[in-house]
């Protein structure tokens, strides 16, 4: 039943752009899919208590490396984006390895990674001669605008399918981690590092694995965002605000369930868009106002997030029904 429902949902998502092509809703859907992927990337490590506030840095690296490689080196994003992933992964190793080695955990880890996203933001701003600084940066258009080589497409349908594919890849990786030994190792580590080490878990290596995976995925999200929007600025793809936004959307959606980050992205982006469309510029700030209150309420009353709590409720109902 749920299995066939899942296939039906997937078919509907793939088929959607062939029956419905209004540009604005398509744009919102693409944005939601890209951010959902970024949030899923964060939650892959976040769900094990590895709360990173540095993911804005990884996303910024992915976006800027791809764009700079294209503009200055004339390197296709097919190579530029993997370079960005590599750079994000390397940065993750450089920062995370000593962290894990020296047992910097909990909010100390959060604050070290916060410094990381601060660094990336300031470096992008400081190298304004190359990156455009806080004014933002645009990858150059390739000839007539649509090209597989340059990964630039003018049609929204193509972008929708790409974003959908990457999003599905994110969910697939989430499931692979969920089903693999890595999950058991990391759960043991999040409960008790010494205990996990005593039972033969290589604490540093396992944590590093998931961090690099998560960082590289986030860098891919950055590259994707850059190629779709054709405009990046330090404030929209990098820095502390973006890092916080990732953490909070995941918490609101549900950190322990695969679709939680997606629900978080839908809620936060739709909230912002609905307020913007219905109130225009008078609504500036209102979305974050509601968002901030929601977040505090969620952490106090529903720490599992919206989707997580709904699923737990359903399971409890079923358990009660089965018990009778």
């Amino acid at each position: 039943m749920t299995r066939s429902l899942r296939w039906l949902g997937a078919a509907a998502l793939v088929g959607l752009p062939f029956v419905y092509t209004a540009p604005y809703p398509m744009h919102i859907l693409i944005i939601i899919l890209i951010w959902s992927f970024a949030y899923t990337s964060w939650s892959i490590m976040g769900r094990f208590g590895l709360v990173s506030l540095g993911h804005g840095g990884f996303m910024g690296i992915g976006a800027y490396v791809t764009a700079l490689a294209w503009n200055y080196g004339h390197v296709s994003p097919w190579i530029g984006a993997p370079l960005g992933l590599l750079a994000g992964g390397l940065l993750a190793v450089v920062v995370a390895y000593p962290c894990f080695r020296f047992r910097i955990i909990g909010h100390y880890f959060a604050l070290v990674t916060l410094a990381l996203s601060g660094i990336v933001l300031q470096v992008i701003t400081a190298t304004r001669d190359y990156t455009g600084g806080s004014l933002g940066y645009t990858p150059e258009r390739y000839k007539n605008g649509s090209s597989l080589y340059a990964v630039q497409f003018t049609g929204k349908t193509t972008w929708y399918l790409i974003a959908l594919g990457v999003w599905a890849l994110g969910l697939y990786i989430w499931h692979r981690v969920d089903r693999g030994m890595l999950r058991y190792a990391l759960e043991a580590i999040s409960e008790d590092e010494d205990g996990a080490a005593a039972t033969g878990v290589h604490v540093t290596r396992e944590k590093l694995k998931v961090t690099v995976l998560s960082a590289a995925m986030t860098a891919l999200a950055g590259a994707l965002y850059c190629q779709y929007q054709m405009f990046i600025s330090p404030d929209t793809v990098s820095g502390i605000a973006v890092s916080l936004q990732m953490v909070f959307a995941v918490v609101v959606g549900g950190i322990y369930v695969p679709l939680g980050p997606t629900v978080g992205a839908v809620i936060t982006i739709m909230l912002a868009e609905v307020l913007r469309v219905s109130f225009g510029t008078r609504a500036v700030g209102w979305d974050n106002l509601v968002y901030g209150i929601l977040l505090v309420i969620f952490i106090i009353f529903l720490p599992k997030g919206i989707l997580g709590s709904l699923l737990a409720l359903r399971r409890a109902r079923r358990g009660a029904a089965a018990g009778e």
Partner: protein, 289 residues
């Protein structure tokens, strides 16, 4: 050569003055962390509200500046208490990271509340304090004032913590959260007093910062992160460590700003922080056990 030296001296001096303000900023946060074991991510946003309070009282309603400052300090102290009662108290038993995230929600709330209420324009007091010229170096009077007030504030807090009964109780709670309630200390009351004190220090910082910087809803992001890093570098909860770390950071920023750009100063400060975390994970002033 002589000209370079005077610029260097000026940068060093300005670094010291900036260090005083940063030390004051980190003092309140350190106090909260040391006693309640919670990181107020929204600490800089409380300061932002205090700055708006100063702007409205002084520039719009023409209150005398000292009275405006007093009102602001009390108001932000009340905000600190409210933050504790409404957000932190229900989460005291939860995972530490949840408290950090909840105050992050407050950060979003305060930023956007300020955007909605006051708009995104930059506002300033319209008060021009003179620039002092000392031996060929330019020193901003407002920075000097901030530095002096920061020092006095820190001495007062130090005296309060070491010379009064309540202060002693606060330090005792910071040392051992479980035992002190058994010794007859009302931890709830101590938490409230600490929150008020932390808020009051944020209010004082607001009064001093508004003399130098324009206020806008996102001003907190420009000095909030650096404040957290200073507290962590100086070992969270360690006041002397925070004090030393503030001056180290300020000098790095000032010198980086002198030789390259201000952004590079921040980059070096952040990078220094990360490296120091690896060299001394417990912070600069950790006692070796």
């Amino acid at each position: 050569m002589a000209i370079v030296d005077i610029f260097l001296l000026e940068a060093l001096l300005n670094g010291v003055l900036l260090g005083g303000v940063l030390a004051l900023l980190s003092l309140g946060l350190n106090l909260i962390f040391g006693v309640i074991d919670v990181v107020w991510i929204c600490y800089a946003e409380l300061i932002m509200l205090g700055m708006y309070g100063m702007y409205f009282l002084y520039t719009v309603y023409h209150a005398p500046i000292v009275a405006a400052a007093a009102v602001c300090i009390v108001a932000v102290a009340v905000l600190g208490v409210l933050l504790h009662v409404l957000v932190i108290a229900p989460l005291l038993g939860a995972a530490p990271i949840n408290q950090l995230l909840a105050t992050g929600g407050v950060l979003f709330f305060l930023q956007s509340a300020a955007t909605v209420l006051f708009g995104i324009e930059f506002k300033n007091l319209g008060l021009r304090l003179p620039v002092l010229k000392v031996a060929g170096m330019f020193v901003s009077y407002s920075r000097l004032l901030a530095f002096a007030a920061a020092l006095i504030g820190m001495v007062l807090v130090y005296l309060f913590l070491t010379r009064t009964y309540t202060g002693t109780a606060i330090r005792a709670i910071a040392q051992d959260r479980q035992i002190m309630p058994l010794m007859g200390v009302d931890s709830r009351r101590i938490y409230l007093i600490t929150s008020a004190l932390g808020g009051g220090l944020a209010g004082l910082a607001a009064c001093l910062l508004v003399l130098q910087y324009d206020v806008h809803p996102f001003v907190g992001l420009s000095f909030g992160p650096i404040t957290f890093l200073i507290c962590v570098l100086g070992s969270l909860g360690n006041f002397v460590g925070g004090f030393v770390a503030a001056f180290v950071f300020a000098e790095i920023i000032a010198l980086g700003g002198l030789y390259l750009d201000l952004e590079w100063g921040y980059v070096f400060a952040f990078a220094f922080f990360i490296v120091m975390m690896f060299v001394r994970p417990e912070g600069l002033m950790a006692r070796r056990s």
